[in-house]
Amino acid sequence: MTIATAVGAPAKLNYNEDIQPILAENCFSCHGPDSASRKGKLRLDRAEFATAKRDDRPAITPGNPKESAVVERILSTDPDEVMPPTDSHKQLKPGEIALLTRWIAEGAEYQPHWSLLAPRRPAVPAASAKFAGSVPNQIDAFVGAKLRSTGLRPNAVEAPARLLRRLTLDLTGLPPTPTELATFELDHSPAAYARTVDRLLTTAACAEHFARHWLDAVRYADTHGIHIDNYRTIWPYRDWVIGSFHRNLPFDQFTIEQIAGDLLPEPTLDQRVASGFNRCLPTTSEGGAIAAEYEAIYAKDRVDTLSTVWLGLTTGCAACHDHKFDAVSQRDFYALTAFFRNNTMPAMDGNVADTAPNLFIPAEEDRARWTRLQEEIIAARAALDSRDRAADPDFVQWLTTASVLAPPAGDRKLGSQLPLIAERPRAVPVSADSSGKTPSPSSEDILAVDGPYGPATLLNTTAFEVGPAISLLRGKAESFAFLIRIDGAPSGSLLACFEEGRKGPGWEILIENGKLGLHVADGKGRVDARGVATAALAPGSWHHVLLSFDAASMRSRTIEVFVDGKSVANSTVSAHLPVDIVPVAPLRLGSRQATPTHAATLLTGGNVWVQDLRLFHRGFLAGDIKPLADVVDTFAAWRSAPAQRTAAQKKLLRTHFLASVDGASLAYAKTLEQLLTEDDALRLRGGVTLVMEEKKDSEASANILIRGEYSQLGEKVAAATPSALPPLPASAPRNRLALAQWLVAPEHPLTARVTVNRVWQQFFGTGLVESSGDFGVTGSRPSHPQLLDWLAVELRESGWDYRKLVRLIVTSATYRQSAAVSADTFEKDPANRLLARGPRYRLDAEQLRDQVLAASGLLVTKVGGRPVRPYQPEGVWEDVAMKESTTRFYRQDAGDDLYRRSIYTLIKRTAPAPAMDILNAPSREVSCVRRDRTNTPLQALVTLNEPLFVEASRQLAARVLREAPPAFDRRLDAVSLRLLGRKFTRSERGVVKRLHDDALALYRREPKSAEKLLATGASLTDSTLPLPDLAAWTLVASQVMNTDESLTK
């Protein structure tokens, strides 16, 4: 950074301002805090070492440059002697040498690093450059004083429309509406601007926008990140962040609740959700991964994030060695990790979405009911239990009198049920079944065997249509279960929605030589998967078969066949369906054909009996199936002679009695089902989120890891804060809560500074300290140190009022200046670090997308909820995802969810949305407090050609054609007002009109081209609008969208 310090020599040189930068740049890499790279056993960063006695003479003798070896070595002309050494590529400038010499002559007084000294509120400068057109506040006094000393003059206030656009984009991430622009331009009262600020600050859009910045810092994402990168449900934490900004939660509380919400006394639901901050890190569950290694990685990641976001220190360097530049030792680093190594989170996330510890969060409006409902569910379960305890006499009674089992009552997820009890029961001896003889279907004796619930249906002769086709749709779940018994080795279709020949889309549970199988096809060739179990069903006994299809929850397998509760290896059937399966054929049992003829389409090779076909609107995991599959064993128990029954069999029968027969239990179960149905609905509206939980029985500690290697355990250290910073109160427990409270303690030198700096950066593009994540020795020096300190103290003393801080910044004359700049001023201050002009830079990725959504009217402003999946090019997930990942296939949403604000887009860490990535949205793999802001051709391609941008242009065109007066100029105004916040000038209009007229003529000649252009995007447009006009205006809107003025704030 090359900002001249104040003109004129100060009375006495100041170490932090004048000397330290020179030493840090040129000397500390060999003569700094890091003992490993230190040369000549010399340290120049601390007075006691620099002035210590050495063989020859001290490196620095205060007050005596001539007796200081440093000076001699710097001035040496001998290439072997001169410092810095020639091979370091470093060279001191004459001015720097003069400063060093003078400082030594003046006594060589050292100071601690500037950012480690607690900020004190400096006096507001009296002499300041004048800001024209707006009322200055304290910020302007500091900025103006510096401008005055450098001879630059501040710009005048920005034109109202432009200013409102800047302000609205900065506070809400969205552009102002034409109405808001008109109102603002008309209101000349001095209070109008402040009123607008206050209005914008309380909007939900503002909370969303601020939250998005914060989510970069805490590396929020919706997948685990490492290895198979499965979905993770932690969006309630994201919504908590939005809510906190919306209610302006003081920043100290915001800090404490996130770092240690779970450790607060009797934490509220919200505070526990906030502790999900600790769960935002990428995690793994890779087979073979070593838990100890990942625990070390997680702890380091958490400390890195904490350090970057609150301390502004790059403590990570100290994981392997003492920090080369900053006063953070390896011990300090591991003592910090200790705070994060005493919790119950497992090292392996299990590849599940809701890795414990987790918490279900009802929707805001459901909270009261949900709490009561849980009590009611507990009561209903207790009633069932007490009936259970009293049911023995009735059970014994039933056991002696009943002639048949009863099909279990359906639960709330049961769609429909077909008992399949044969009409003409005629039992055959059990022993004859396993003879393997194939009975003749034409035989007059229809073979019927006893099923659990009565005579079973012989499928060989009774194929029929069960109902309409059932589709397997993404986002839905369907399951099919039935009981089956075979003899011989039958082959054929059991249950299917498939045309004969299986050419079209469909699915089928089939049997092939007694082995169960599954066939799924989309009819277009993308999916055509068939798999058959390795083992045949044992003939002569009953089996429970279940096909589970579940594309509603994030699971590692979408489609799976179970026999007797165990997954049948169907390795050729894809675990995930990338497309919907929408069969045409109805659901049929026993044959694929509409009117089965015995010869070709019925089961052959053996008999098949079925019973109790059930269709569920849910998916099953192996564990869920057991109660259903138990019927096979229950039936065997039932048929055993009472005296022979084992205890387990008796238990099965008792369970059956309670679940299917006992009137009292059934009544209680019905009540419970009703409550659970309600619970399901509430759970759907709410969500599970990951939270933090401390181990209760151990103290926070960690081992120093030698060279950062997890397996090289060094000394054990207790949780502690870095020694160069104020200590924890002696009475404080050594846990995350104490750490969080320490961060926001009044004497803490860093948190407030780092925070105000990041907020400043959010509005000016660059922080007062440019390296907003590094306030250490190698970080940048503040451009306005006193302003930084004043703001830091102001934030703290305002009760950490975040909104007040923002208000202070955006109401400053500094912020309100015009962004215009003369070539001369640009030359003097190209990066605008002196702030003689207003901020102007390209909008962030999310702002660019949200701006066109808003301008076109497509934007859906719903706040919060599950992450959404807008347009994305094909294959982005699929190409990088591992086969078993739950985020392998991108399932694009439909309707409103395509047009939500970008903060709600599902973030898969290993495959970021390409357009956002190109526009520098971070992948959220590590904490990011300062984004890249590149300017590349790939970005131009996105905003020119990306379907969402083209669709938004079409909708903006339609909006204009519909709403604006028909004159060209009026329509163009409507476009430019929504994108640029201003009307075009006459000459600009002329340029646009030529393009418009050209395009209109073209699209009139070639209506097909117009149709093609207008077909981009899922949303519909008013069909009454003339296509050539709509197409021409779509182009106009797209071009205005792509001007620098639109892409820039």
Binding site: A24, G288, K300, D301, D304, T314, A319, C320, F325, G708, E770, S771, D774, V777, A819, A820, V821, F826, A831, R837, Y841, R842, P873, E874, G875, D879, V880, R909, T910, S923, E925, V926, S927, V929, R930, R931, D932, T934, N935, T936, L938, A940, L941, V942, L944, P947, E988, V992, D998, L1002, K1008, S1009, L1013, L1014, T1016, Q1039, N1042, T1043, D1044, L1047
Partner: protein
């Protein structure tokens, strides 16, 4: 994905991200700004900015000006390709226990030696050792310089990949291609100077393998997507012809120019205008460059395009030739994964079948076009493989990761073709002759391209950084 968060001193990449100031200069004076200079009220800024992609001389005379880097991700086995070990036939299935540092994290330590299932020949006049299944490459054996002395630090894929590609096993540093473009600029202003042709699945370590790291973003590797449009949103919307798009861009340019005339200091504006022009030129040039259909059938057959086994890598190799022909400085091709822990005969057999003909075709095609002398070709993995395996018996023999021995080969400009440099011990477990850390290989590659690793530095996070991290030495034996 980038895994740099695991590691200190690299985890804060985003924090030290280049600022917009770096990008001001990223694509300074190209055709666009010349075209618009008449429209600009004050184009002084744009015209005077140095263009970092402009070609410039290196530090030393270059022996090659382009590089094609064939990255066999997963770690090919030197023992089954180019470094035969008869000793292993004698030791086959002998049990022993590995200890200490040699003990892989994946294994208990109990090991069995495994002989190579492949036969070897002495290929070419130089008599280079090659497994017989490299039947095409054997024909150009005399163009290759085999090197058996390289060692790396890591036994894990992502970290070893980062080290081979970026010099730093922790990730977050610039890739070799970024350094080369930073040093030499680009010979084609219509295409990115560093192009990556990944597999459909990105390699271990993901995009950080071709990162610009702390260098300005214009040096970032541009991956051509293996499926769908090679560059996102490259095609104009349906119903918009190139002529139409040209007019559209002219409109944007005029509006921007008017704006720029009123606001001469809006620094990013000129750069943005350039980028829209480069984007347009890419729309024009990239599809043509990537279109292999215009190549004659003989050429396509040479690369094995159209045959199942070789089609995919054949296309990449042919594309690499075209890109180099167009002046793209650095092209990196990925193939794999070569991570054959078991069934090495089948796994390596299939992999070699996939790349043998295409690579041989690339060398002979470049040669016949007179481009081989100016192109450096590198073939390597991120490490080699072990002579032993933890599984005994059956056909399932495979090999584990080995950081201490590998074979890489170089071809093309400046390379000591027809030689095999360095050697491994009798089991191939470790390099014993001309042993160099991978950083020295990096210095050597830079040297061939005319760059001096010690001068090719970038100031970042408190010190001057370089590809070799802390300096290295050129392996003179590899250079002609």
């Amino acid at each position: 994905m980038s895994t740099n968060r695991y590691f200190p001193c690299a985890g804060a990449r985003a924090l030290h991200a280049p600022t917009r100031r770096d990008f001001l200069y990223s694509l300074g004076a190209s055709l666009g700004s010349v075209a618009f200079s008449a429209l600009l009220g004050n184009s002084a800024h744009a015209a005077e900015k140095p263009n970092p992609l402009a070609p410039r001389p290196g530090h030393l005379p270059a022996k090659a000006k382009n590089c094609i880097f064939l990255m066999m991700e997963g770690g090919p086995s030197h023992l089954d390709t180019f470094d035969p070990k008869p000793m292993l036939a004698k030791l086959h299935l002998q049990e022993f226990t590995r200890e200490g540092k040699q003990k892989s994290a994946m294994e208990s330590g109990k090991r069995y030696y495994v002989r190579s299932p492949f036969e070897f020949i002495k290929a070419g006049q130089s008599g280079a050792d090659m497994a017989t299944n490299w039947s095409h490459l054997a024909k150009v054996a005399d163009d290759l310089c085999f090197y058996r002395g390289c060692q790396v630090d890591s036994v894990n894929h992502p970290t070893a990949m980062y080290q081979m590609n970026c010099g730093n096993r922790f990730g977050g540093d610039p890739g070799l291609g970024a350094w080369v473009n930073y040093g030499l600029g680009s010979l084609n202003q219509d295409l990115p100077g560093f192009i990556v042709l990944p597999e459909v699945s990105y390699p271990q370590g993901g995009t950080a393998n071709w990162s610009n790291g702390y260098l300005p973003a214009s040096f970032q590797g541009t991956p051509l997507r293996a499926k769908g449009s090679p560059i996102l949103d490259l095609a104009p919307p349906a119903g918009v012809t190139p002529e139409r798009q040209r007019q559209n861009l002219d409109l944007i340019a005029q509006l921007n120019a008017t704006h720029a005339a009123q606001h001469p200091g809006f620094d990013e504006l000129a750069a943005r205008m350039d980028n829209y022009e480069l984007a347009f030129r890419m729309q024009m040039q990239v599809p043509e460059t990537l279109d292999l259909s215009k190549e004659d059938e003989k050429t396509k057959a040479l690369y094995g395009i159209g045959q199942d086994a070789t089609d995919s890598f054949g296309r990449k190799c042919l594309l690499a030739r075209k890109l180099v022909e167009k002046g793209v400085r650095f092209v990196q091709l990925y193939n794999g994964t070569w991570d054959s822990h078991d069934y090495i005969e089948r796994a390596h057999g299939n992999l070699v079948r996939g790349v043998d003909q295409p690579i041989a075709a690339l060398i002979s095609d470049l040669k016949q076009r007179g481009l081989l002398d100016s192109t450096l070709i590198v073939w390597c993995g991120e490490f080699g493989r072990t002579p032993d395996n933890g599984v005994r018996g059956g056909t399932a023999y495979g090999r584990d990761h080995n950081p201490n021995a590998m074979t890489m080969w170089l071809a093309g400009g400046g390379v000591k073709a027809g030689h095999t440099i360095g050697a491994t011990n009798e089991t191939g477990m470790t390099a014993v002759d001309k042993v160099h850390h991978v950083r020295d290989v990096h210095c050597t590659l830079l040297r061939i391209l005319g760059l001096d690793d010690n001068k090719l530095t970038y100031y970042h996070a408190g010190r001057f950084k370089q590809l070799s991290q802390f300096g290295g030495q050129v392996i003179k034996e590899l250079i002609a």
